[in-house]
Symmetry: C2
DNA sequence: CGAAATTCGTAACATGTGTTACTAATTTGC
DNA sequence: GCAAATTAGTAACACATGTTACGAATTTCG
C-alpha cells in the first residue's frame, strides 16, 4: 500500500511476481532435473527418495502428505523405485499400507544426488549476499504462509 | 559461504529452496487459475492475452519468446482464443506469420482478469513489509539472473 | 535468378499427468 | 460384534503436454 512499488498498470508479465516465480521455479527444476537424470532419477522419484530417507520407515501416504504430489504420482514413483531396487516394500502392521525403506543402493544414490542438489542450491544462494539471502528467505517464508492461509480460506467455506 | 545458514546435511525437502519455490509457485498458479476460470480462461490463454495486449500487433513467435511456453502450446492457445473471438488473426507482410491483435471482447476480458491478477499479487506482497518486500524482490531478481546465466553456460558448450 | 537453407506454424504421434472408480483392509458406532 | 463408513493403494481411463516431422513461405548466397 505504499503506492511506490505498487503500480497498478496494464500488467506487464515480466514484472508480475507470481509469473516470475513460476518461471524461476521451472528453470531451477529443469536444471536440477538434468542433474538427477545423470543418476537415472525422475523428479517424482527423487522426491519420494527424499521423504523415505528421512525416517527408518514411512508409508506412501506420508509421502503424499509431505509432497506436492497426489496418490497416483506417488504410487507410480514407488513402483519404479522398487523395480530399480532403490527402495523396498515390507508389510506393515496395518495391512493396507506397505512400509517403505531405503535399500542400500537407494541410500547410495540418494546421497550422491542430494550432494549435487545441495551444491546447486548453495551455488545459487551464494550469489545473494549474506544479508540479502537472509531477507529473501524470510520473505519467501512469509509468502508461503500467506498463500497457505488463502488456500485454507478457499477450502473452508463448504466444510 | 557464511556456514551459518548453509547447513550441508542429509537434505530436508521442506528446507530446500528450489523445492520451496516450486511448491509456492504452483500454489499461486492454482489460486490464480481459479480466478481465470471464472472468466473462462486457461493459464496458457491468459499468458497469450497478456503478451498480445502489450503491442498493437504481435506474432505467435513473439509469444514464444516472451513466455515459458513452446510453439505448440502457443499455437493451441491462439487457436482457442480465436474461436472465442478474443483475438483476431490478420495476414502479415511476411506470409508465414499471422499478426495477432486483441479483439474488443478480448480487451474487455483481459482488463477484468488483469485487475483480478494484480489485486491478487498486491494482496500477497502486502503481507511483506515495505522493506521486506523490496529485499525479497531484489533477491528474486538476483536469482533469476543467476539461473539464466547457468542456463546459458549449459547451452553454450556445443555451440 | 534459382537452389539450398532457414523460419513459422500445425498436424500427428508419444508420453506424462490428473481423475474417477474400484478392491482390500480397517475403524466406527449402533 | 457386525453393518456402514473411512482409508490406502492401484487400475483404467481421459486429458493435457511435449516431441518429431512436415508443408508453406521466405531469406541467403552462389
Amino acid at each position: 500500500m505504499s503506492g511506490e512499488t505498487m503500480k497498478d498498470y496494464p500488467l506487464d508479465l515480466a514484472a508480475f511476481t507470481p509469473y516470475r516465480l513460476v518461471v524461476l521455479a521451472r528453470a531451477m527444476s529443469e536444471q536440477l532435473g538434468a542433474l538427477y537424470e545423470s543418476e537415472g532419477l525422475t523428479i517424482p522419484e527423487w522426491r519420494v527418495l527424499a521423504v523415505v530417507s528421512q525416517a527408518p520407515s514411512v508409508a506412501a501416504r506420508d509421502v503424499v502428505a509431505r509432497t506436492p504430489m497426489d496418490k497416483m504420482a506417488v504410487s507410480r514413483a514407488v513402483a519404479t523405485l522398487e523395480e530399480k531396487s532403490l527402495i523396498a516394500r515390507a508389510p506393515a502392521a496395518d495391512r493396507r499400507v506397505s512400509s517403505l525403506k531405503l535399500a542400500a543402493k537407494g541410500r547410495a544414490v540418494f546421497d550422491r544426488v542430494s550432494a549435487i542438489a545441495l551444491r546447486y542450491e548453495a551455488t545459487l544462494l551464494q550469489t545473494l549476499g549474506d544479508e540479502e539471502r537472509r531477507a529473501f528467505l524470510a520473505g519467501l517464508r512469509t509468502l508461503e504462509l500467506a498463500v497457505a492461509a488463502r488456500a485454507r480460506e478457499n477450502a473452508a467455506p463448504q466444510a
